[in-house]
Symmetry: C2
Subunit: 316 residues, 2 copies
C-alpha cells in the first residue's frame, strides 16, 4: 500500500526526479528512425519501433540513478494501437529495469467505467481463460477527480489490493489551470483546495506508518510554488507528483516547496529537457542516452541543492 516502494527508491537513488517519456517522433534521433524505416518501411509500425528504441535507450541510460519514469499516454495514443503496444512494451522494460512506472493518462469516468480503466492500468482483466491478465500493469496512474468519489473508488480499491497508487489532478502546471481550479468556493476555499481535501479523505484509511503517506497522491505543478507550499501543508498524507520543471518554466526552488521537512513527499518530473538533452548540448545524436543521463544528474543536483533527504541505507 501507499507510495512506500517509490519513496524507498527515491532514498536509495537520493534522487526525487522522475523521467517523463513523452516521445514524439520528431524527438527521436534520425539514425533510429532510419533504421526502423529500413526494417518496416515508412509507416506507423516503423514510427513506433523508433520510439520504442529511443525509450529503451533512455531507460537503460538512467535506470540506475532515477527512481521512476512517467509515461504520458497521449504520445502513444497519437500513433494508434501500434503506439499503445509500445506504451505497453515501455512499461514492461522500465519495470524490468527496476523503475517505478507512473502512467500519466488522467483517466476519469463514472464508477462502472472507472472499474474498466482501473483493471487496465492497476489490476487485471478476465479474458475467459484460467487466469486474469495484467494489461498495462502500471505502479501508479494519474486520474482526474471531477466526477467525485465514485469515479475514484474503483482505482482506490485496486491500489489497496495490488500495492499501487493514484495521483489526482489538484493544481495543474498549465497557464489556464486557474480558470476553474483557482475559483473561490462559497466556503472560502478554492476548487483546487477542495480537490486536495478530497484526496486527503480518499487516502485517510490507507496511511502507511513508514513514511506517513497514503496511496492517494496528487498532481501540483512546479509552475505554482505558492500553491505547492500551501498544498504540501494542507495535504500532509498526500504524496505529490510535480510536473512543470524545466521546459514548462518551473525551477528547483519552486519545486522544493513540494517536499516535507524530511526532504520527502514528492517526485519532480522532467520530460522534454531529458529526452532532448542530446539536441541541446555538445552531443552527437547517438549520444542521446548519455545526454539524458547528464541532464538527470544536473537536475538531481539542482533539486537536492534545495532539499535534504534521509541518507540511503548502506548496501550490503
Amino acid at each position: 500500500m501507499s507510495f512506500n516502494r517509490l519513496i524507498d527508491k527515491i532514498i536509495e537513488t537520493q534522487n526525487p526526479t522522475v523521467v517523463g517519456l513523452d516521445p514524439k517522433l520528431e524527438y527521436v534521433p534520425g539514425y533510429l528512425r532510419e533504421k526502423a524505416v529500413r526494417e518496416y518501411g515508412a509507416n506507423v509500425r516503423s514510427a513506433t519501433a523508433a520510439i520504442y528504441a529511443f525509450n529503451k535507450g533512455i531507460i537503460d541510460a538512467v535506470c540506475d540513478i532515477v527512481p521512476a519514469v512517467k509515461i504520458q499516454s497521449a504520445y502513444y495514443e497519437m500513433y494508434g494501437y501500434h503506439g499503445v503496444k509500445v506504451l505497453c512494451k515501455t512499461i514492461k522494460h522500465a519495470k524490468k529495469k527496476g523503475l517505478f512506472v507512473i502512467v500519466d493518462a488522467k483517466r476519469n469516468d463514472i464508477g462502472a467505467t472507472m472499474e474498466a480503466y482501473s483493471a487496465a492500468y492497476l489490476g487485471s482483466t478476465d479474458i475467459g481463460a484460467a487466469e486474469e491478465h495484467e494489461m498495462f500493469a502500471a505502479d501508479a496512474l494519474t486520474v482526474n477527480g471531477y466526477l467525485g468519489t465514485d469515479g475514484i473508488t474503483p482505482a482506490l480499491e485496486l491500489c489497496k489490493k495490488n500495492d499501487r497508487g493514484i495521483f489526482v489532478l489538484v493544481k495543474t502546471s498549465n497557464k489556464s489551470s486557474g480558470e476553474l481550479q483557482d475559483r473561490k468556493l462559497e466556503s472560502g476555499e478554492t476548487v483546487y483546495e477542495a480537490m486536495g481535501a478530497m484526496c486527503e479523505k480518499w487516502g485517510s484509511d490507507n496511511i502507511d506508518d513508514k513514511y506517513g503517506y497514503s496511496c492517494v497522491g496528487a498532481v501540483v505543478g512546479a509552475t505554482y510554488p505558492e500553491q505547492l507550499a500551501e498544498m504540501r501543508s494542507k495535504m500532509p498524507h498526500t504524496f505529490l507528483l510535480v510536473p512543470g520543471y524545466g521546459a514548462q518554466g518551473g525551477g528547483a526552488e519552486g519545486a522544493s516547496k513540494a517536499f516535507d521537512e524530511r526532504g520527502l513527499g514528492a517526485v519532480v518530473n522532467s520530460s522534454r529537457a531529458i529526452m532532448l538533452a542530446y539536441k541541446n548540448g555538445n552531443y552527437s545524436e547517438k549520444e542521446f542516452g548519455v545526454a539524458a543521463l547528464n541532464e538527470v544528474i544536473r537536475m538531481k543536483q539542482d533539486l537536492t541543492s534545495y532539499i535534504t533527504m534521509p541518507a540511503a541505507p548502506e548496501s550490503v
Copy 2:
C-alpha cells in the same frame, strides 16, 4: 463545423438515441466467444475478436435507425493494445455504416499533450511518411475541462479544421458528481454552471447558422433532470450528450429536458440496456442483434413521446 452532421442524421432517423458500445467480455453471447476461442485460443486476442464480432452485429442491426454510436474507450483499454485495435476497427466499421462516432474517452491534459490526444482522435499524426495518418478518426470526443482553456484549445482547433466536435463534462450522471460539480462558487454559480459557461465561451466563434449549435458540446446526465433543464437554457449554443438513461436510472421525461423548443439539441445514450437486450427478453443469444434493434425502437418511442422534432426531409 459544429454538430450539423449529427443533427442532420438525428432528423433523418427521427431518433435522438446514441447506442453505447461498452462491451465487457461477459456481455458477449457465448457462441461468439466459443467461436473466437476455437480460432485463436483462450487468450486476449480471442477475447477482443469476440468483442468485435459482437460490436459488428449490433452496429449492423441498428445502423439504419440510429444516428450515432458512443464508444467507451475504457472497455477497450481493459483488454490492452488488442482492445485498442478493436476500438479502432469498431470506429471504422461504424463510420462505414454511416454512423456518427463519438469516442467517450474523457481526455484531458495541458496544451502540448492535449495536442497529441487531439491528433489521435480528431486529427492526424505525422509518422515521417509522405502523408499524415488518421489514427482513431472519431467524429467527436468527450473531454474533461478541469485544466481550463489551454487544455481545450488544441481539440477545438482540430474540430474547426476537420468538422469534428467535443463534448465537455459539465454535470455527470453518477451519484457523487455533486461533490465537486454542485459546490457553489463565491459568485453564486455552481462549479458545473461555471464549466457550462466555459463551454459557451469556447464555442462562441463557431456557432453554425443551420441549427445554432457550435462544435463544443457538453455532457449532462439524464439522472439530473433539473440541472438538464437549467443547462439547456443556460447553454443555448451547446449541443448535449446525455448519458444515464436506462441502466443508470434516468427516464425519458427527464432526458427530454435536454432538448430545445424545436425538439433538437441533444442525443441520449444507452449502453447496457441495448447490448444486453437479448438477455432481458424472450431471445436466444443468436438474436442479440434484433434484441438490440427492438430496444432501440422502444427507446426511440419512449423519447419521442416527450419531444417533437422537425420532420425528416423526404427522400429523393
